[in-house]
Structure formats: C-alpha cells, structure tokens
Symmetry: C2
Subunit: 506 residues, 2 copies
C-alpha cells in the first residue's frame, strides 16, 4: 500500500491509500486513455511540473483573503509569470495548442489564476476573431503583436442593455469618407459595452461590435479593431470611457469592464474586412455568406463543453477523495464510523457524477473533432454540416453547463460543511460553471435554438430527406415513432443507443 506520493513525497491518508489499492483496473492505462495516449499524458505531466512547481507561481496569500483590487493584481502577476514561461516553452518548441488550452481552462489555468485569467479573452476571443475575420493585411498588422502580447485585446459585443438580441446593439460605427474613418459612438447609457473580460484594466485594444452606417444607410453589426489605451502610459485615449463593472459571484480576477465611446475616430482599415467590406468612398460590400462569421462563436462553445468536463471531473475527484478520508455515523449501532463513501446515500450522490464526468469528456472530444472537421470543410467552401455543428454546439453548451453546475453542487454538498470552505475549491469551481450557463449564449435561448433545429430536422425526416449524421436517427425512427411502435428491448450497447434514439425521436 502506497503511503506517500511519488512526486511530492507527501504522506497519503491510509484510508485513501487503501481505496486506491483496491482499484480493479490499471490506473496508468486509464490515465493514458483519458489524456489521449501515452505521449500526451507525458507532455501533460511535464507541463504541470514545469508550471506548478515554480515557486514564483505559489501565491503568498490565497486569493479569497485579498481585496477585490489585490485579487486582480495577484492574478496579473501570476499570469505574467505564466506567459513568460510559455515563451520559454516556445523557445523549446513545446508551446502547442494543448499548452494554451490547459493554461486557459480549469485544468492548469486554475493552478495559476484560480479565479480566472485577466488575459483569457485575449486568447479565447481576441486572437480567434483576428484569425477568423481579419484580412491577410490586417493579420499581418495585428497578429504578430497580439500573439507576443505587445498588445492585449478583448472582445466587446454585449452592452449594458443588450445581450441575447445582438441586432439590438446600440453602439454605432458611422463611416466618414472625408477622413476615411469610422466614428464610434455610444448614444445612450444602455449602449455601453458591458462584461468583456480583461476590458476594465488589462486590455489596450478591443474588437468592438457596432452597427455600421455608411452613405446614410444601416448595414447591421460588424467588428472593428479599436485602440482603447495609450500603449506606453496605459491611459484611456480621448473619447474612451472605460472601467470595471464590479465584483461578481466568481471569476473576480477577470476584470470584466464597461466601455463607452464619445465620437471616437478609427481608420477605415480597422474594420475587420475578411467578409464584408467598406471601400474608401463608403461603398458597402456584403459578405458572400453570413455563416462565415459564426466561427468564433462556435469555437468558444466547443471550448466551454471541454471546460465543463474539466470542472466536473475536478469536483468529482475532490468529493470522492474526501469521502474516502472522512468517517462519520455508524451504519449499524455500535459499529465504528465508516468512511462516508460506504453510506449508500453518498454513493447515490457521487457515482453518477464520476460517470457524468467521463461522458462529458468524451462528448467534448467528439465535438472538438467535429468542429475541426467542419472548419476544414468550411475553408473549402463546403457549408453542409454547419447547421448541424451549430445545433450540436448550442445544445451541448446548454446541457453541459447546467448539468455540470448541478453536479458541482451535488459534489460540494456531499462534503458537508467542509465543501463550503473556500479551501475545498468548490466555491470557485461553482463560480466558473454557473457563469457558463449565461455567457456565450444564455442557456434558455440555446435550448430554444436546439429545439428549432430538431423541429426542422423532424420536418425534413417526415419528407424523407437525408439528415446529417448526428440526427439521422430521427429519420430511421420516423415510421416507428409515428406508429408509436417501440423496438424490442436489448441490453447490448447498440440496443441501449437504439433505446435512447427511440425515446428522443418519440
């Protein structure tokens, strides 16, 4: 029986060591499967060691004891060290996508900035928007500087009075052909940008989404690159009103901000013109297809599903370990107090969360692969699977965020009072998961969009059309569903899948 941890040398609680010794599978096999193979697992361990063993990345005082201002300052300090280490990795040729994903997610990121990174939006929204919507010339101008953090950006779309209904945004970008500039303006208080992460104190640039007016005509919403602060002094530029929206349930080191414009002028070339364009004289040229701008939005939703799998497995791990170590309440009078995991009520709480965390991870991988495939097809001009990906991303973002939130709370409450302590990590984890129910598409709205997609597919099934792979079961089951026939119950895995499909189609 192991009684001390191989890598840290810390003593292991004997109840925990005993539970581990009873494991019915080879843990290393599972770890390889879980991390996508032996090589990825080794990389992950090397990476965790590289970041988390750095003494500079140990906070002197845990975040939850600091004031709001100090939380932000500490997170900035930690992030800066973190990204300096990323540059070291780059020099070693080791800075792959996995490193960035780990740093910005609940995985490695929560070790460095436990209450969210002030730089998250720079990597998750600003850079991907440049990649997806900037012309090659614009990319040449901005990407290098953004990639090396010489400029820090965020993505400013939501306004104080406008979130879900994007067409209702009030910020205007009016083209002035005389100076070849756009004039950005916030006509009302509700037009102020509200929520962008990093906007309050970190970012000096932003992609700003605004209503485009040119030659007296309104053309809808488009993205613009706007410099917010002086690159040397970090002071807001003239006409820019920027600040923080205040303390929140969680993610308090993200420094979500507000942003108002008082007739701020930016050069014409600052409109992101990969899709739609405005010419020197103010002529507006429509994008070939409006779907092309969905890219960033879907990318973020795909990332969220992956995040939820991470947070849920973290919560389940903490609760299961605690349940092995904590002893309470004899099952039969006179017996000693058992590990609480031996109580059936505890098993009923936690075992489904373990299973769910594995199902979420596999779902996240499936969606990630689908996203990459559809994006590759998109680049070739093939838009066939876009509505399917959009439907899947909507549905899975809503389901995984709400289920993970509920699951984190089940895990927390299963640890009794100790789960309420900040040092259990549950409060911050809850702050992250529940936030995701609202941001990047409010869940009720996404569920309605999912329903709309499914109704459309059901109609297509009724007309005998071929359906995309993930909803093809609707057509397979169409006849039997309409006739209220149920297939014979079969306990095999295909049988179980068939049963789920039959229920879903019904």
């Amino acid at each position: 029986m192991t009684t001390s941890n191989k890598s840290t040398g810390m003593k292991i609680n004997p109840d925990l060591a005993h539970e581990r010794s009873k494991c019915s599978f080879v843990v290393e096999d599972f770890a390889e499967f879980w991390n996508g193979g032996k090589e990825k697992l080794e990389e992950k361990r090397w990476r965790e060691n590289f970041f988390l063993r750095d003494p500079e990345l140990k906070p002197e005082i845990p975040l939850e004891y600091l004031s709001h201002k100090e939380k932000f300052e500490e997170a900035t300090r930690m992030s800066t060290i973190g990204f300096r280490k990323v540059r070291e990795l780059r020099d070693l040729g080791k800075d792959g996508i996995d490193t960035y994903m780990a740093l910005l997610s609940g995985n490695l990121g929560s070790g460095i900035t436990p209450d969210g990174s002030p730089f998250a939006l720079h990597y998750i929204m600003f850079l991907p928007t440049l990649m997806g919507q900037a012309t090659p010339e614009q990319q040449a101008e901005w990407m290098g500087r953004a990639w090396s953090c010489n400029i820090i950006g965020t993505y400013a779309q939501t306004e104080l009075g406008h979130g879900t209904f994007i067409r209702g945004l009030e910020t205007t970008a009016t083209y002035d052909p005389k100076t070849e500039e756009f004039v950005l303006h916030s006509p009302t208080l509700t037009a102020y940008k509200w929520w962008p992460g990093g906007l309050a104190h970190t970012a000096n640039y932003a992609v700003v989404v605004a209503q485009l007016y040119t030659k007296g005509q309104h053309h809808g919403i488009f993205p613009f690159i706007v410099q917010l602060r002086d690159e040397e002094t970090h002071m807001p530029l003239p006409g820019i009103k920027v600040g923080e929206i205040g303390a929140k349930l969680g993610m308090n080191s993200v420094n979500n901000g507000f942003l108002g414009f008082d007739n701020v002028r930016i050069p014409r070339k600052n409109m992101l013109m990969k899709n739609a364009q405005v010419e020197k004289d103010g002529t507006f040229i429509k994008a070939p297809s409006s779907v092309l701008t969905y890219g960033t939005m879907m990318f973020v939703r795909v990332v969220i599903v992956r995040d939820m799998a991470n947070y849920l497995s973290k919560a389940a791990t903490i609760a299961v370990r605690y349940s092995a170590v904590r002893r309470q309440s004899p099952i039969n009078p006179g017996e000693p107090e058992p590990q609480i995991m031996d109580h059936v009520t505890q098993q009923l709480k936690l075992f489904p969360q373990i299973a769910k965390s594995i199902a979420f991870r596999m779902t996240a991988d499936y969606l990630w692969n689908m996203y990459n495939q559809v994006t590759t097809e998109l680049d070739k001009g093939d838009l066939d699977r876009l509505p399917e990906l959009h439907g899947m991303a909507c549905c899975l973002k809503a389901i995984t965020t709400s289920d993970a939130t509920a699951a984190v709370e089940i895990c927390r409450l299963a640890c009794g009072g100790h789960g309420y302590l900040s040092c259990s990590s549950f409060p911050l984890t809850y702050g992250f998961t529940t936030a995701a129910m609202t941001y990047e598409g409010e869940n009720t709205v996404l569920l309605l969009q999912t329903a709309r997609y499914l109704m459309k597919m059901w109609l297509a099934a009724s007309q005998g059309e071929t359906l995309p792979p993930t909803v093809a079961y609707l057509r397979r089951n169409f006849k039997s569903t309409m006739e209220a026939k149920r297939p014979k119950w079969d306990k095999s895995i295909p049988g179980i899948i068939n049963a789920f499909e039959t229920c879903a189609a019904g």
Copy 2:
C-alpha cells in the same frame, strides 16, 4: 402613475411604475397580511427607517471589495452600531422579539451585515441555550451580562472530524472532585471544535459540548460554559487554542472558528445543570427526560424555515423587478423589445418562485406557532406533540433550505449576466440559503429522520392508533391507500388538499 418613491424620493423606472399601476389587489392590504397586521407593518416600517436611514450604517465600500479581514472589521463596526441602536430601542420600550428576529435574519440584518453577523450565534444559540439549559442560579449569573453584551458567546458543538454523529464528539470534560472542576481537553486534531460562528475573533465565552466523565464513568455529551478570552485584553486564556477556519462560499463576516483545549479547568458550576447534574463529589444525576435538551435545536430549525421564506421573497422580488425593467428580444420579428417578463419562458421561471415564497412564509408562521404551542405544553410537562414537532421541523428545514436554494438560483439565472454581479445581491443570498442545507442538521440526514417518523406513523395508522394532527391524514387515507382507491377529483381547495394527502399517503 407613480414616478418617484414616496419615502426615498428616488425616480422610479416607468416600466416598473406601469406594472405596479396594473396591480389587481390593494398592495397595502397584502402588506398588512404579509406582516401580520396593520400594527406590525407600521412597526416594521418604523424599524427599517430607524436602522437603514442611519448614515453610520451605510458602508463606505461595499463588502465584496474588501479583504477577508476588512470584511470582518466592517461587519463588527456595523453590528456594534446596530446593537447600540437596539439599546436605544430598549430605552423606548420598543425592542421586541420582532426586532431581534429582523436584525438577525435576511430581512433587516442583511441591510446592516450583508454577509452575516459576527454576533448571530450569540443571539441565536448562546442565549437560547442559557435560557433552555441553565439553572435559575446560572441564569442569574450569566443571562444579564450576555443580554447586555458584556460577554459575547457562541455555541461550540461540531468538531473538525464530527458533525452529524454527535455521539462521536471527542472533546472530554473530566470531573476532578478534589478541586471541584471539570477538565476540558481535545485529545486529537479531529477533536477541535470547528465552525462555530463568532468563535474566531468575536466571542469571549462559549457553550462547549463535551463527553462527560466523572468517577471514571462516561455519561455522554453535556454543555459547559467556558470562558475563552480575557474580558479586558481579549487574549485567549491559557490552554485555549482559538482561531479562524478561513474564507467560505458565503457568510464571510461570521468569523467561523476553531477551538482546542489543553486541559482547561472550569468550575463545577459551569456545567449547564437544568437537566442533568454533577454533584460536588462527582455523583452524576440523570436528566428526567432526554427530550428536554431538544429545545434549542428545534428553535434554530424553526428560525431557519422563516429565514428561507425571507431570502426567497427577496430573490423573487429582485428578479421580478428586473424582469419589468429589462427589455430584450422581440417576441415577433420587427416588434420592439418587450419587458422580459412578457416572455413565457421568463414567466415559467419566476411565477412559481413568487408563489413558493408566499407558501414558505405561511409554512414558517405555522411552524413558529406550533413551536410556541408545543414549548408551552413542554413547560407543563406535556411531551405528546414533541415527536410531531421534531418530525415537522426536520422535514421543513430540509425542504425549505433545498427548495429556497434552487429557487434563488432560478431567480438569479433569470436575470442573465446581471444576476452574476454582486450588486444584484444574489451571490450573498445564495451563500446564505445553500449554507442552511448543511448546518443545523445536514439535509440528507434530516430527510432520513423525516422518513423514519413517517414510517413510524404509518405503522401506527395500520394499527388504528390516533395520530398527531399534521399526519392524521395517514390514518384517514389508510384503508383507501391499501386498497389503491383514489377519491374522486374535486377542484375545491379541500379537494386539492385531499388529493395531496392521498398522494402522500400512497
């Protein structure tokens, strides 16, 4: 249409004013009903004005921006002013039970100490324990000083390793007849008291629950009054190890603490001896009935049910007001954005929470009256309804805390991103409601106790015994349930109650 508030003079949002003007009942009538009559309503308004308009009770910086230490200091400052004002009320003869309840609950209290009062346990646990378990001589010694806050107490029962299973507590109180003292000792780390509110920095006294040993015999757990700190210097007394357990999901100004004893001696008269006693020579005298010590525990659960009704109505009020003011997403294309309350999805979220908050309040009043009645009967030696009250308090504590927690989150999420901001009050409200799922009887445990009570009553019903009033329906429905008969559906209120009783009995 009202456009400014009568008492504050603040402008009222026109959408909100319009909604209020459509009210189909007389608001003042409801306010009187809600507050228990015209007189109580007037008292409440006078009290709120007296406390909340005091400029000293306006924090300079909202709590959520302060460090953990500053949160505690600010809450102590606010509480001190609050209780000084209570003394002013006392001089006016206006310090009734309602004032204390309001100050210590989510009602008025959250206006003064939004993240919990450092003095709450003094009033909710220390004083009631003295009232319920001290002899008249002990009351004469301690009650006056405690009541005037010359000493501040808390209630130390739960230990780091022991919560639900009280018999498992490890702290010992060993009687030494030579000096006529009890020796309090924490034999292990898991024996440290853990969680008592106010213990970390506020209290200088505590009721400590410990395993009693006298004449070499173990007699079970009993309460002792222990002085923790010097009354002048506030420094811990010799052998007392006291401090804070750390930051939490919420209630961060409550200063929950830990407490260890290194052979601390207290006089014999410090055992609370209203029920069991230890004589000078160490002879142990059993309590006439063990049920007599249930008092404080049931009192606290009854108070929790009332608290949950308060928190839920607060959350529902915030969400409903926001839904009148916020406009988003046209219902039909081309229409203007409606108040979000006009969306059916929003109504389905919020209307049940309004109804629930009213049902909770009426349930809390019912339980409060039942508690007072049963306590009066207890004082006369009549224990008949004690198991019923215990069953009701267990069940309603568990149900109202878990339902209120879920309801607060429904309300918060219905306010979109704005509900995630601390200034919405939802995060602190959630911290309070979810904490109550764990403290004072963990909900899973209380539900099992409820089930046990109901099974006992069902058995009694099967044997034709007379059942207590709240479960009498089990007997009324026993025959029809066993024969799986369902009464005819009747839409009247007695019909609905009958339907609920039939379902519950089935």
